[in-house]
């Protein structure tokens, strides 16, 4: 294990950025999101969850796929090049790292999504263990250890030092680049900090959410629960939960007429939107209740059913803090998980 004084992280970032692009949590107009590092960027080392998740780096909100040129009856197709930007993504929390496992299940399953795969291949992820979890955190419920994230490199912030440990070949390669700035670190201090964080995680208000009732064989029972009507009653049908969610990956494919040609792009979409399943002759989910239900059924039943029990929620708590009407997956898990007699 290596370490570096937190006072010198600026040097670390500069060194990383010499060889490839560096994305990390940056404050802009009062909001912290992943952004490209520059010497004068306001890097936020303390912020727990960025407003948007890290999925943006691999599955951007908008991605151009192909361009078309229309001339009379003829069409010209010009596929858009895949991203070839080599980059390091720094400061990813354990929950967001777990979300990449979820996204991999979707995008790297056959047939592989080349757009996503290219970004995954070109990206090296440096995670950061949590030191001060929020009351809205519940990653432990999904088997995530906030004190020990996965990633190519994992880092810990302890007593003014940044501890650094490579976990993969990509991580080793990055470590080679920055080794000169580092000195050897004492593992014991990190262990101490891990234990403290795990203790906090266990005591958080949502630490004991019960996922046991959410089993694939309960699909129809859960789907037909009368509780959905009440849960979805105040839903605005906006896409906030979907867009801030690190695992939501539904997308739309759209054409944009530039006046000189057509750009076909894909963009994040939300099953909460009324037009999500709209076809020329109607939609199979006309009510907000059905759309609301789809989102949570997908995360808690459908996705695990297709992916060896892996839930499509990582407990990051973004929907808990961002939903305009404060309806979120924690409330849904509690309401649906209750005994039916209650």
């Amino acid at each position: 294990m290596l370490k570096l004084s937190l006072n010198r992280v600026g040097d670390l970032f500069a060194k990383i950025a010499e060889a490839q692009a560096l994305y990390l949590p940056v404050e802009k107009a009062g909001q912290v999101d992943y952004d490209k590092w520059t010497a004068d960027a306001k890097v936020s080392m303390d912020h727990l969850n960025t407003a948007k998740s890290a999925k943006d780096l691999f599955f951007p909100q908008v991605e151009r796929m192909v361009d078309f040129k229309m001339e009379g009856k003829n069409i010209e197709i010009k596929p858009h090049a895949l991203s070839d930007e080599k980059f390091v993504l720094f400061g990813v929390r354990a929950c967001d790292m777990k979300s990449m496992e979820v996204l991999d299940k979707v995008f790297l399953a056959e047939p592989v999504d080349s757009f996503y795969a290219a970004r995954r291949m070109n990206g090296t992820v440096v995670t950061m263990a949590c030191s001060e979890p929020e009351e809205s955190c519940f990653c432990n419920v999904f088997g995530v250890d906030a004190a020990e994230p996965a990633g190519d490199v994992v880092t810990w912030k302890v007593d003014g030092e940044l501890y650094w440990k490579a976990l993969t070949e990509k991580g080793e390669a990055l470590t080679e680049q920055i080794k000169a700035l580092m000195e050897d670190g004492d593992e014991a201090k990190v262990e101490e900090s891990k234990a403290a964080v795990r203790e906090i995680m266990g005591k958080l208000p949502l630490a004991n959410l019960n996922l046991a009732p959410f089993q694939p064989e309960k699909l129809n029972e859960m789907f037909n629960s009368p509780k959905w009507a009440k849960l979805s009653e105040a839903c605005l049908g906006c896409g906030t939960c979907t867009f801030v969610c690190p695992t939501c990956q539904c997308y739309d494919i759209r054409d944009y007429d530039t006046g000189h040609g057509i750009q076909r792009f894909r963009c994040w979409d939300s099953c909460m939107y009324s037009d999500f399943t709209m076809m020329a002759h109607g939609t199979n989910r006309p009510d907000q209740m059905q759309r609301f239900r789809q989102r949570f059924m997908h995360k808690l039943i459908y996705f695990p059913s297709n992916n060896d029990g892996m839930y499509s929620c990582v407990g990051c708590g973004r929907c808990v803090s961002k939903c305009p009407i404060s309806m979120n997956i924690a409330k849904v898990i509690k309401a649906l998980g209750e005994d039916k007699d209650e």
Binding site: E134, A234, Q263, Y273, D275
Partner: protein
């Protein structure tokens, strides 16, 4: 506030019992102390009814949906919420006969995000002691001035007047909320050079993720199908294709609600990216006031809207060029 909440619950029970209403629209207790959800209650669900410093959500817009149902609904409206409701009456979006309105005293609502932005993490409870908030967190007790944690809309409170109601629940105690000049920031933006102003708005609007929370929560955005959702409109879009769209979505929306926006502040309250969208609306309000005389949307049911009504005193169109100046 606690006393008002108790009175509200009592009145809700009474009005349900005597059949005046068959349901109650209010705020429901959440997992934490701050995550209240708007909800429709019947008698047996009222144990989860709550009214406290986190009942910031304006319930007026829900009444559009409620008015399509059978029977009369009770809704609790804070003073500023009544302006939104009145505006919805003016726009024929709600049926006044199907709603029983109880106006409830409000001393300003707290913004949990402002508390988090102070660097306070892991909040578990909040107590109000006079003008101070005592905040329990996993990491120990913290304090802040109540005023510093108020929602933006409350800092520029419209006052304690209710513009539409059937009955009122107030304590009669004297207090003041807010007091900030709501046009101060607008004036500051107006004083900037066009370049500075553009930079300010790019910085803010580039954060937009087009989740549509601002639009969907807005009581003035009550179109059955929004032009941005209509595939036949030619401008339907789910993501901002470029900077231009990023800016224009919000500017077009501000134009669309101009003269109808009551400045209820819900757009900024719900924005997950903390974009001060209310500033766009306030710019329009300020201009309307300057061009056509003081006007508050939703204040009454008789005043004609300045933007859809012609008088000889109206400002000349040439004002646009004059104000545009050299830039």
């Amino acid at each position: 506030m606690q006393r008002v909440a108790e009175m509200m619950l009592e009145r809700a029970k009474a009005l349900l019992a005597d059949g005046t209403v068959n349901r109650v629209v209010g705020w429901e207790m959440g997992e934490f102390f701050y995550d209240l959800t708007p909800a429709v209650f019947t008698a047996d669900g009222l144990d989860k009814f709550v009214y406290n410093g986190f009942s910031g959500a304006n319930l007026s817009k829900y009444m559009i949906k409620e008015c399509a149902k059978d029977g009369k609904a009770l809704v609790f409206l804070k003073p500023c919420d009544t302006y939104s409701f009145n505006q919805l009456i003016n726009e024929h979006r709600v049926d006044r006969e199907k709603v029983y309105i109880i106006g409830v005293e409000c001393r300003g609502m707290i913004d949990i995000r402002k508390i988090r932005d102070m660097g306070i993490k892991g909040v578990t409870a909040i107590r109000e002691e006079g003008e101070e908030l005592i905040i329990d967190t996993i990491y120990g007790e913290k304090k802040c001035a109540r005023k510093d944690a108020l929602l933006e809309k409350c800092l520029c409170c419209k006052g304690q007047e209710f513009v539409v109601y059937d009955e009122l629940l107030t304590t009669g105690e004297a207090f003041t909320v807010g007091g900030n000049n709501r046009f101060a920031k607008v004036a500051e933006l107006e004083a900037m050079t066009p370049g500075e102003r553009f930079a300010f708005w790019r910085n803010e609007l580039s954060k937009c993720i087009r989740c549509n929370a601002c639009r969907n929560v807005c009581p003035a955005c009550s179109c059955l199908q929004c032009v941005f959702d209509n595939p036949k409109s030619g401008i339907a879009s789910k993501a901002n294709a470029d900077d231009f769209e990023e800016n224009m979505f919000h500017i077009i929306r501000a134009f669309h609600v101009a003269g109808r926006c009551t400045d209820c502040g819900e757009c900024s309250r719900v924005c997950p990216q903390g974009i001060p969208l209310h500033l766009l609306n306030r710019k329009f309000i300020k201009d309307v006031n300057e061009f056509y005389g003081e006007f508050q949307a939703g204040a009454d049911n008789t005043t004609k809207y300045p933007l859809t009504n012609f008088t000889k005193e109206d400002v000349e169109p040439s004002i646009v060029t004059n104000r545009g100046g050299e830039n």
